[in-house]
Assembly symmetry: C2
């Protein structure tokens, strides 16, 4: 409609980094996502506004990922920026799964196989960055595998000499963690669940927050959440997945489940992280708001 | 706690632009803000996620304001970026009041007087930019003052030749609009209400979204909202202000008022814009999330 000689430049398309930031914000907007902080649910010390501030603060680190900086470094800076709010860890796992996807998109090939290739190309320097990221926030993690005490992420930068001595790449770390961590499984499995969930977001009807809530529930019903398994135990995680499946089948109200899980402090954070990754991929593939 | 030789750079402080973006997002997070879209309220075609996408898209234009670009141009680009979601106008007024404040903060003097000085220094080029911004979104505006038809913002870029011929600065436009537009009054009145509301945000207790809702209600109870006056009529705006005063005095439930106003389509958008400006100033002055 605007005449070509009007001096009005067209609106800019969203960049890859803006889509990643928007994905973080839309993830927390979808409701009900049972057990998560979302548009309608807070924990006392972990609230919606902390995720908003986390999403604002993470952008510069995500920008480094798009600009070709080492993935570990981009992740560490994104976590540092995210941490500038009072709740601590809001989107650590979401940033970990997003960083290779953002780089893949910036390189013009947002496929799971290309993101998986980028994951495989990480080096020991990325591992040191990854451990440094744990200095910015407290993250719930399990004990390391047997014989791997020296590489316990809870040691933060103190573990860096051992990492360098053993030449452990970040991909190696993810391989070691894949059986207990759903984000590590994305890194080592070509981001399969993130990409599949993105396709679901694109094929569903309704508003993006409603689709987000639906896809979260589908993911949760499909596999036990590894963050719940870490924070509570495997049995709780399996039970939560069963509850999600019942809600998904329409045999229970997801709003009731959401209130119950929040009251019990059962927060399927890994499933939320995958949902954020799926939103990013879907936005890059044309999901409109 | 992190040892100095650990290779861990400290987390980055939020930049001026990040605080402006966060302010836009926190404004819509505060609830209940009677009549507005907020964390708990949507209109059918103007929903929370549109404000989130608007806040993401506006950032680059806000960055131009911080970097010294002409204020009108920075505003036009911010509006263009904001417009990249399906609801059209979400934060036009908020961006208009934010742009001089962002520049003032970037220059290291976020006082109302300095922002007012920047407003007075605008030129006819800023006015042309301002009119171009109306090409990106439909904005509810009143008829122009008598004899000013040639400068009707609804003419968009078609008005630019007349603006240039008459050498109308953006500050002149704001002077002409100050009696019917609360944002223009900020521009011509050294951003007095924005700065005062920022001080209220800093002195109140409670979470930032709760303080935001409180300050919105105080602002609404203080002066009729000019967006409501434009979209409906002066009487409706005065009545809404009276209802806000009753709620503020604890004699009515603001949640009930919020539901009533949304049902009637009475959206005090100018008051929301001032709230966003106040959040920005408060964040710059140390409000923590």
């Amino acid at each position: 409609m605007t005449p070509p000689d009007s001096g009005v430049a067209p609106p800019p398309d969203r960049t890859v980094v803006e889509n990643a930031q928007l994905a973080l914000l839309l993830e927390v907007t979808g409701t009900p996502k049972p057990g998560n902080v979302d548009r309608a649910h807070d924990y006392d010390d972990l609230r919606f506004e902390h995720f908003v501030a986390g999403g604002v603060g993470a952008r510069r680190g995500l920008g480094l990922a798009a600009d070709g900086e080492r993935l570990g470094r981009a992740f560490e800076r994104a976590v540092a920026g995210m941490s500038q709010q009072e709740a601590g860890n809001t989107q650590f796992g979401a940033l970990l799964v997003l960083v290779p996807l953002v780089r893949a998109a910036a390189e013009g090939d947002l496929s799971g196989s290309h993101a998986g290739e980028l994951a495989r190309e990480t080096t020991v320097a990325d591992t040191a960055d990854f451990f440094r990221a744990f200095e910015h926030v407290d993250v719930a993690v399990d004990d390391p595998p047997e014989g791997m005490d020296a590489l316990d992420v809870r040691r933060g930068v103190d573990a860096v000499p051992a990492i360098e001595e053993r030449n452990v790449t970040l991909y190696d770390v993810m391989i070691e963690s894949a059986d207990i961590d759903g984000i590590a499984r994305e890194w080592t499995g070509e981001f399969e669940r993130s990409v599949e969930a993105a396709e679901r977001l694109l094929e569903l009807d309704g508003s993006v927050p409603d689709r987000t809530a639906r896809v979260f529930l589908e993911l949760l019903a499909e596999e036990p959440d590894t963050f719940v398994a870490t924070q509570h135990d495997r049995e709780t995680a399996v039970q939560t997945t069963e509850q999600a499946a019942v809600a998904l089948a329409g045999e229970a109200d997801p709003w009731t489940l959401a209130n119950e899980l929040v009251a019990e402090g059962i927060n399927p954070g890994t499933t939320a992280d995958l949902t954020a990754a799926a939103l990013f991929v879907a936005l890059e593939r044309g999901l409109t708001i």
